[in-house]
Amino acid sequence: MEDDSRFEEFVAERADALLRYGYLLSGNPHDAADLTQEALIRLHQAWPRVRRKQAPEPYVKMIMARLHVSIWRVRRREAPGWALPETARFDSPPSDSDEGLWQVLATLPRKQRAVLVLRYYEDLSDTEIADVLGVSRGTVRSHASLGLARLRSVLPSPSAINGSPA
């Protein structure tokens, strides 16, 4: 019971952050909710061991990333336990540049997108990303390079968006 209490404290404190991470990985709120719930269920089942041997947040983020890039889409297990709002919530209106980039991110292969999210949102090093995804550091670099190249090839430069020469 004490373990459950600590687990619930962890979820209460970090659920929103994990949902944001899930949203960036998956690109839509429904998959974010599924991904977060599934990873937290797995964390709960492993809670005593995870608490003893490693921090729970890196563990749950590792599970979310690996689920997302591997088996998640074809093996969804349970519907999320709550209804999502119909409309997205904007704390601030996205700029054209941000929105355009977000749309191009959605076209990237899952592993490339995950690498970019881990590197540019989670601020992880390539070695840390390699651990999270269970791949080599070289593979991380390769995915990052391919993902960035794809973004560069599709996106107009910021100066073009602003209507001034580069």
Partner: protein, 378 residues
């Protein structure tokens, strides 16, 4: 270019993150409930999970046996002292306790009233190994529904008995419940109303090898009142490919390493999964409480097998009548942890946990290293 793209990427991700969904109230409690239900499905394989004591004075139930179930029913007359009043609301009516066909142990089902006044469904599950779970709620809303599907004993690997129990609720107008199977077969279940319960409780027992895709509920005239379509659970381990080579073990068992993405050993017999040892997180040979274990034993029919520490060269299974069988351990080839594997057979019983046994580990010189006494669980 990279210098410009990277800050734009950080900005876009930061902005997008503000559009993420927010966790609802009581999200953590919801996760815990779902986790417990899944753990129940997995049969609470590791002994040591807290079980609340049950008082089981037998009373008569109102039973509407519609012909297919054939499960002996008894009802507890005394509500259990709940561990946590926040999670275990007041019972409404008596408990229905049946023989769980997946475990050969009791399973209790009952109604309760949540703090918000809603009717919720509760279950207490006991595994063959002596572990168990008890929890209320989470299933579909009962109030106002003619019938609901509240859960099953489906698991990966499938129950060792090869049978799965489905259960749920049904209003008074329901006279018959039928499970529709993937291949089109139909299995009739049983309806029972425990004394004082607001509705009946239905159960259907089916073979584990053919999932149920729908439940049909019929009135007294044989008319279908409600049909619940069902998506059988998909376990990631089911279609997973082994990492590296597999190892042939005694008794026809084949064991492989799988990443789904947690690392697990899956034991197969004639290509079908029969047992699993979870290796991550935290490594092998730790129980659900995080405590170190001498061995993780699994069983299937007359086979007993599992993993033990790297210093153990031989494992002995000592049954209650003194019958002793032994198995030499083998190294694992995947460098997946500090453990060795063993497998053997015994002919005395198909339920070693029922009467209890001892498991003993020996080193290469035959000296006893450890001994575990597993008391009877039935």
């Amino acid at each position: 270019m990279t210098d410009r793209l990277e800050p734009r990427l950080r900005s876009a991700l930061g902005t997008a993150a503000t559009r993420a969904p927010q966790a609802p109230a009581r999200f953590s409690a919801e996760v815990v409930l779902r986790s417990r239900r899944r753990r129940t499905r997995r049969h609470a394989l590791v002994a040591g999970v807290c079980v609340v004591a049950v008082a089981v004075p037998v009373a008569v139930t109102v039973t509407r046996d519609t012909g297919g179930g054939g499960i002996a029913a008894v009802v507890t007359a005394t509500p259990t002292a709940f561990e946590d009043p926040l999670r275990n609301p007041d019972p409404v009516g008596k408990r229905l306790t049946i023989d769980n066909p997946s475990e050969g142990r009791p399973l209790s089902l009952w109604y309760a009233r949540a703090r918000n006044g809603a009717t919720v469904f509760c279950r207490k599950y006991t595994s063959r190994t002596g572990g168990g779970t008890e929890f209320c709620g989470e299933g579909p809303v009962i109030d106002g529904a003619e019938a609901t599907d509240q859960g099953s004993t489906e698991s990966f690997p499938p129950p060792v008995t090869g049978k799965v129990l489905h259960y749920g609720t049904a209003q008074a107008g329901i006279a018959r419940v039928v499970a529709v199977r993937e291949g089109g077969g139909r299995v009739t279940g049983t309806l029972r109303t425990p004394q004082g319960a607001p509705q009946a409780i239905w159960t259907v027992t089916v073979s584990a090898d053919e999932p149920v895709t729908a439940f049909e509920f019929l009135d007294g005239l044989g008319r279908t009142v409600k049909r619940i379509e069902r998506q059988p659970p998909v376990f990631p381990e089911t279609g997973a490919k082994p990492v590296g080579s597999t190892v042939e073990m005694p008794g026809g068992l084949v064991v492989g390493l799988y990443e789904t993405p947690d690392r697990s050993l899956i034991w197969k017999l004639e290509g079908r999964a029969v047992a699993m040892n979870t290796l991550s997180p935290g490594g092998p040979l730790t129980d659900m409480g995080g405590r170190p274990m001498k061995a993780e034993l699994r069983e299937h029919e007359d086979r007993w097998f599992g993993i033990t520490g790297s210093g153990t060269a031989r494992v002995a299974l000592v049954l209650r009548d003194g019958t002793t069988v032994t198995a030499d351990t083998r190294p694992e080839p995947w460098q997946a942890g500090d453990f060795r594997m063993f497998a053997g057979t015994q002919r005395r019983t198909d339920d070693i946990y029922a009467e209890g046994f001892e498991l003993v580990g020996y080193d290469r010189d035959g000296a006893e290293l450890w001994r575990e006494d597993h008391g009877p669980t039935r």
